[in-house]
Symmetry: C2
C-alpha cells in the first residue's frame, strides 16, 4: 500500500508521501512516489501516486516522454495553460494505462492495475490547485470544504487531520500535522513505511521552498512519534472521566 497526503492551506501547498511498496508482506521495496516538474518563476507541478507501481511508473514515464531520445522529449505538463488541463492530461494517461493493462490481461485483468494520483501545483497568474485523480481518469478538486486529499492507506491518519486542520495554520504546523498523521498510520499498518518525502510549496513562489527525505533516524520525526503517544495519553486524561453512576440524560 501507500500513504500520501496533499494539503492546501492559505500559505500554499504541503505534500507528504511514504516510500514503501509491497507485493505481499515479504516483498518490500523503497520507491519514490512524489515527482515534481518546474519552470522557474512560472509553474511547479507535483504528483504523488498510489496503487499499482508498474502503472504509476508508466504514467510518469509517459509524462516525461522517456520512450523518446532525451533531446526529443517534451513534457506536456510544462506547456499546459492551466492546472485543470494538467489534471486532465494526467487523468487521460492514467485511464489509458490502467485500461490497456486490464485489456491485455483479459478476464484476469479485471479490477487490477489501478492507481490514484494527487496533483498539486500552481501556474503564474492563477491560484494554487490540488486535484485527486481516479483510476478512471476523472478527478475532483480540493475546495475550502475539503482542503486536503489522501490516497492509499487513508483511514488511520484521517481523524487527526480532520481535527487538527486549520486553513490559516503555518506551513510548519501543516508539516507537523502531516507527520502526526503519518506516524499514526505507520504505527498501525505495515504497508506504509519510512522514509517519507516532504515538499512545501509556498503560494506564488512557483518552487518548493523545502524538500526533505525524512528517514528512520530523523530526530524531529522521532520526537513527534515518541511525544505523540504521551500527548495523546495526556489529552485522553484531560477529558471528563466516565462514571457508571452518572445521571442519565432525560
Amino acid at each position: 500500500m501507500t500513504y500520501c497526503v496533499g494539503m492546501m492551506v492559505d500559505k500554499g501547498l504541503v505534500l507528504m508521501s511514504d516510500t514503501r511498496t509491497n507485493s505481499g508482506v515479504d516483498n518490500i521495496s523503497v520507491f519514490r512516489k512524489m515527482f515534481s516538474w518546474r519552470v522557474e518563476g512560472e509553474r511547479i507541478i507535483t504528483v504523488m501516486t498510489a496503487g499499482n507501481l508498474a502503472t504509476t511508473q508508466a504514467v510518469v514515464s509517459q509524462l516525461e516522454e522517456r520512450m523518446k531520445a532525451p533531446d526529443e522529449r517534451d513534457n506536456v505538463l510544462l506547456k499546459s495553460p492551466t492546472m485543470f488541463q494538467v489534471a486532465s492530461e494526467i487523468g487521460r494517461l492514467l485511464r489509458h494505462t490502467v485500461g490497456n493493462r486490464q485489456q491485455e490481461n483479459g478476464d484476469r485483468g479485471r479490477g487490477r492495475f489501478t492507481a490514484s494520483i494527487i496533483v498539486a501545483g500552481q501556474i503564474a497568474g492563477m491560484e494554487p490547485r490540488l486535484f485527486l485523480i481516479y483510476p478512471e481518469g476523472n478527478f475532483i478538486e480540493a475546495s475550502a470544504d475539503t482542503p486536503f486529499f489522501q490516497i492509499g492507506e487513508t483511514k488511520y491518519g484521517r481523524p487527526i487531520i480532520l481535527r487538527g486542520y486549520d486553513r490559516e495554520m503555518s506551513m510548519e504546523d501543516a508539516v507537523k500535522l502531516l507527520m502526526v498523521s503519518f506516524d499514526s498510520t505507520l504505527k498501525a499498518n505495515l504497508s506504509v513505511g519510512l522514509p517519507l518525502d516532504l515538499m512545501v510549496i509556498p503560494r506564488d513562489t512557483f518552487e518548493a521552498s523545502h524538500t526533505e527525505r525524512i528517514a528512520y533516524d530523523d530526530p524531529y520525526f522521532q520526537a513527534i512519534s515518541a511525544g505523540w503517544g504521551d500527548a495523546l495519553k495526556h489529552a485522553f486524561h484531560s477529558l471528563p472521566d466516565y462514571s457508571f453512576y452518572r445521571p442519565h440524560p432525560k
Copy 2:
C-alpha cells in the same frame, strides 16, 4: 458497515458496538449488533457482529433455536463447557450460514454474505476470554500482546486504542477510551452511527455490571466528542514545533 470493539483489561471485559446498518447510503437502519446470554453466577457470553445483516441475524437465531417452539429451544452456548467450545460452535454456525448463502447463489454468491463475530465472556472456574471469528469459521483469541479485537470499520479508531490502551486501566477508563475511538470513527465514516451499545463485564461476576445505549443526546458522549477535538489540538501544539531551519541529522 459497522464498528465493534471488544477489549480485555485486567478487571474484565468492555464491549462497544454501533447500531448502523446500511445498504448503500440511502438505506440506513438501526439494528442491535450486541447479543448476550447468561446463566446466573455461572457464565455470561456476549457476541458482537459485523458484516451481512441477514447472515448475522441467522446465526443468532440459530444459536437461540428460534426455529423451534419456545419451550423446545435449547441454547447450546449455555451448556458448552468452555469458551473455546462456545467460539467453535459460533464459528461452525457462521461458516455454514455463509457457505449456504453463497452456494444457493452460485457464481453470484462468491465472496458475498460474509460476516465476522467477536465473542466475549467468562465461565465459572475459568478466565475471561475474547475471540474473533472469521467468516470461514476459524477464530483467534486475544492475548496480552493483542488484548482487543475490532470488526467492521476498524481503521479510524485504531491509533487511539494502540496509544491509549493499558491492561491495568480502570473499567471507566476503558469505556472512555472506546468512546474516543468510536467518536473518531463516527466523525470520519458515515457507515458507522449512533446510538452505541455498551456492556461492561467485570471479571468473576458472570454478569454485565453495566449496559447502556448511548444515544445522540447523551451528555457524556457529547462532552467527549466536543472535548476530544480541543484536547487533540492541545496535544498537537504541545509537541515540538517543526522548523525549516532545524539541523539535519548526521
